[in-house]
Amino acid sequence: GRACLSRAEPPARDGRSGEEEEEEEGCYQLYPGHIPTSPLQKALLAAGSAFMALCDPYRHDMVAVLGETTGCLALPNLRDKMKHHPEGYRILQERPRIRLSTLDMSKLRGLPDGSLGREYVRFLEDNKVSPDTRMPPKFVDDEELAYVIQRYREVHDLMHTLLGMPTNMLGEVVVKWFEAVQTGLPMCVLGAAFGPVRLSARKLQVLATDLVPWAIRSGRNASCILNVYYEQRWEQPVESLRKEIGIFPPP
């Protein structure tokens, strides 16, 4: 967990020899793929990734990096919300992963229309996306929080399904508004605020008058979306799950 947190600065700051750096770097790696970073590096990464994500919205890795480097307040908050909820607590213990290798796609496809599993698979196929493209975290300096952000990323597609939003720019922005209210992650807030910059005037209007108010209302009304053990609810109808969580029907 947190043992190495206070010493997460890269020892290479003084330019010591290579062998020392490797040993210390290895000791500081809290989970596979972890890259320890100093506060200065995190600040530079946050600024750089924000800029890059704006310039090239297809750089999903930059959105991911932005989330990791700015989530130091929101992530512990989310983790605590999960800990204080029975289902969320179980998720933190069992650490389920949503991956093509762990999902039984044919079984999900066979579920009745309107069920979470069937609609989720339909969403993946319609938008030609896969749950395996979510980036593993690199710059989060706590391995439990790293899982929390990983879970958030893997649940994102389920958010699309529950909100009924496609993966075009408009749909993504709406989901970002919902997630911003739900998680408080600065990356979601920035994405929600700056995403619309690239939309046409007509879409902006629909966004502002219908979609965003609905997303905000739903986000506030709904319980924490990370506290739902989706893998055990594939058979549940989407409508019923929406009611249970508190998401209002999409306009």
Binding site: S17, G18, L45
Partner: protein, 211 residues
């Protein structure tokens, strides 16, 4: 690759100047004769000069070839796949051996230097351009700060690759400093070995002769 282009440019321009000077001295040549002499020398503008570009990585060679084609270099260039520690060339073949930002990536630098010595003709020159060490303490600290704090971040943001750029700055620190590299070059048999610092030692050019 880039050094090869510069070399070819240099030889071409040197020969063009030579040709111009030759023609200037002949005041009353007819247009016919002038055009003939240009044509004749065009094919030999490079003369007998040849450049061999060698790299251990096929992809790098491919990129080099594409660049050469794009820039219009066709003659006098050959591309060879090879390992600096074990060069596929005969002894005493080359007048000059240059290696730019390459020797840092060689596992056994001493072997690469020995090979360089072997393939050079007597009188030939070895030139090496590489990242080196900054002696000025203030500049060194700023350079270290920039190297370790900024460069991997730039690698991640621009190329999505933190690890390669972390490796880069670490490998620069591991590389022998100027005097040590000079000693290694002397050990390989080179004489009149010297170095020149660029940018206070961020980069250095080492030179040695096979005599």
């Amino acid at each position: 690759g880039d050094i090869a282009f510069r070399f070819i440019n240099y030889v071409r321009s040197a020969r063009e100047r030579q040709l111009q000077r030759k023609l200037k001295n002949h005041q009353n040549l007819s247009w016919q004769e002038i055009s003939e002499s240009y044509q004749e020398d065009k094919f030999k503008l490079l003369g007998d000069s040849q450049v061999v570009v060698c790299d251990i990585n096929k992809e790098m060679l491919k990129v080099g070839k594409q660049k050469a084609q794009h820039l219009g270099y066709s003659e006098g260039l050959s591309w060879v796949l090879g390992n600096a520690e074990e060069l596929p060339f005969d002894d005493d073949k080359f007048d000059v051996y240059t290696i730019a930002f390459g020797i840092r990536n060689v596992t056994r630098i001493d072997l690469a230097l020995e090979e360089a010595y072997r393939v050079l003709k007597p009188g030939g020159r070895f030139l090496c351009l590489e990242f080196s060490h900054v002696s000025n303490p203030l500049l060194s600290r700023l350079y270290d700060l920039y190297s370790f704090q900024v460069i991997p971040v730039l690698g991640e943001v621009i190329a999505g690759d933190w690890k390669s750029y972390q490796y880069l700055v670490e490998s620069i620190r591991r590389f022998p400093p100027q005097e040590e590299l000079k000693a290694m070059i002397e050990d390989a048999g080179f004489l009149k070995v010297d170095y020149q610092n660029l940018n206070s030692g961020i980069v250095a050019i080492h030179s040695g002769f096979k005599l």
